[in-house]
Symmetry: C2
Subunit: 413 residues, 2 copies
């Protein structure tokens, strides 16, 4: 079997941990398997490099920023190859440039456009394990680019796709994907499997195990992604195209909802009395997008004639910047008062089966209502329903929904 494995920054945080990772990889190799191992930079390395360049300027050129940051992963990959060698396994490290991870030209958050599997294949055929510096590639000019947050996950999934690997294992500091955050919901269960789309919605809804981009990549190329712990041997969660196979057997499982996600890192902005005319939303949200502020839930409601209220959520960290931008836009539009609320939270239920079961939304709203939780905003997708509520109520709402949709572990029910 060909494994692509990925170990994050905390898994390779120091030499001891790198040696642990090497032993783990060695176990994979000992069974006669081949391994390509993608690594992030050691622990705080990336932050230290950022601090260094910020001593020169708070706005470093993107190109040089990428060159600088890319070195962290190269260091990890060389050290891991060395540690594997010490365990008696032939291993070679590869930079993003060396294995031909071609990206577009957008520095600091480049997208992979092509991977040449040739060089890695050659090394694997020669009996080498291959350690790969994650998070980086080169653009058409041969300049170094980095892939942005979660970039090493994307490297791993993309390599798994290019190499037609049997599985892509993402080693992390959690056991896998849970039906809810176990810190909030003690009865949460680890999922043996989850569908790409569900995982994407869970990620968007606040489950921070993997970045959306790498899941999208996995979905596009049908890469089975095994999210598991780097600190124990237990099976994690398989992210794949379908979980039907895993649900058969008992015949009893009728999973409507795969999980409940929550997010307490958002804040709400409301603009009152904006003119009810075309281009208003474009003006406000265009201005925010230009400044790279992500907007999540949006609700527009007609209050009086020719006037609308628009409410939306942004990341809490972006709130003050967003307010400035919105104020400028609203001044231009001739809108009314702007209010913000930094005490909101979001709870979401996710499941591919919900599309066929119209009662899901009703169950969700009834559950919240019977727990005395007021819904401020609602947003839905084909396989997700999110509600914005008071942040203090988020844990209670998450637990109640988890129970209501039959997700509680048997021992806890």
């Amino acid at each position: 079997m060909l494994y692509v494995q990925k170990y994050g920054g905390s898994s390779v945080g120091n030499i001891d941990r790198i040696q642990n990772v090497a032993r783990r990889v060695a176990k994979t190799l000992a069974d006669g398997n081949q391994a390509v191992v993608v690594v992030s930079a050691m622990g705080d390395t990336t932050d230290e490099l950022i601090e260094l360049i910020h001593k020169i300027t708070q706005k470093p050129p993107d190109r040089e920023y990428d060159v600088l940051l890319s070195t962290g992963e190269v260091v990890s990959s060389a050290l891991l190859a060395t540690a594997l060698g010490e365990l008696g396994h032939k291993a070679v490290s590869m930079t993003g440039a060396q294995i031909g991870i071609r990206t577009d030209g957008v520095y600091t958050k480049a997208k992979i456009v092509e991977i040449s599997a040739e060089r890695i294949r050659k090394e694997l055929d020669a009996g080498n394990a291959v350690t790969v510096a994650g998070f980086q590639g080169i653009n058409e000019h041969g300049d170094i680019t980095t892939l942005g947050r979660g970039g090493s996950d994307t490297t791993a999934v993309a390599l798994a796709a290019a190499l037609h690997a049997d599985v892509c294992e993402i080693y992390t500091d959690v056991d896998g994907i849970y039906t809810a955050d176990p810190r909030v919901v003690p009865a949460a269960r680890k999922l043996p499997a989850i569908v790409y789309d569900e995982m994407l919605e869970m990620a968007t809804a606040g489950a921070r195990v993997m970045q959306s981009r790498s899941i999208e990549f996995g979905a596009k190329f049908g890469v089975r992604i095994h999210v598991r712990s780097s600190f124990n041997e237990g099976e994690g969660t398989m992210i794949q195209g379908s979980v039907e196979g895993l649900l058969d057997g008992t015949g009893m499982e009728k999973v409507l909802i795969r999980g409940v996600a929550h997010d307490t890192e958002e804040a709400k902005i409301t603009v009152e009395d904006v003119p009810d005319q075309p281009g208003v939303a474009a003006e406000i949200f265009g201005a925010l997008s230009d400044r790279r502020i992500n907007v999540d839930v949006i609700v527009q409601s007609a209050t009086v004639k020719d006037k609308n209220d628009i409410s939306f959520t942004v990341g809490r960290a972006d709130l003050s910047r967003a307010l400035e931008i919105v104020e400028t836009a609203v001044k231009k539009l001739g809108g009314g008062a702007i209010r913000s609320d930094d005490t909101i939270g979001k709870v979401s239920i996710v499941g591919v089966a919900m599309a066929q079961h119209p009662g899901v939304a009703a169950t969700m709203f009834r559950t919240l209502s019977s727990n005395g939780i007021n819904i401020q905003m609602i947003s839905t997708s084909e396989i997700r329903i999110s509600v914005i509520i008071n942040r203090d109520k988020v844990p209670e709402a998450t637990r109640a929904l988890h129970k209501a949709f039959g997700l509680d572990a048997p021992s806890a029910s």
Copy 2:
């Protein structure tokens, strides 16, 4: 004019110093010149990386060692390009791989076999200053190699050759090349110029300003190398093919000896009563060479019939290792006692003109003799005479020779 400049590890030891280097480069650019700037790793970075990999193994694989070490220079080059940007100069950093520094396959001390000037030319033509990660290249397989000690100097000189630069400036922590080490000889004078061959002999003889390899490279391609201080604006020493032009004018200068070099980092090994037969030297020195121990001065003398004494010097740091190797070899050869002396030093006089003046050696020996300094070994080249003496006598001998050959500064004579 096109300048290639090189700044060593202490010149880029922290962000302040990198910003200083940027200002210095900016001054070069401000006069309408083009600049390619080669940098070493920041201060102790390389040592820290070595420490890291030595936590895994004392004998890391050469390939991974090179990958690891190469990152230090990449960091410096990105930071310097950023600092130049802050000063309003367009600048891009380049790794050894990006500018196509092709080396042979020998890791940790690779030799440059080819440089493609194309990429740098393109960037220069686009109005960019180019910062280059020194000390590194790639071999024919695209694997990262490092150039060994003084590798960044070699990068700079090789780039100057490939780009037909007007001059290659080596910025260092000394003012230039002196007629002797000013710490030992207060009357030493800075040389405005020195011939490649002389510089090579001076380097071999103990002047540690530049590594021999980069000077050889300069000689081979006729690159004028300006060794100067990164801490002041004064002119340094030009290393070039001929200094005739500089000596004309007065008509009075009859420089026989360019400088006096000394080295207190050697130790002597003597093997007594080895058989006087072919292959003996090959056996001993072959064994040392296989273990990468450099042998400097060698003297063989017939003592009794069919038996020889062989004395030679090695680096002090290599003495105990060398003794082990020699013992094994001598056991095989059936030689006699092995003695070592860790209290020796070497003093050398260097000058291209000495070949035409047979009195030089006599003057040297007479000077030492009249100062009561005993000569243990002698070694000569076309343009150098070295003597091994008691280490305690090295400063006195250096000063006496400096004066005897008319090198003392006028104020001191």
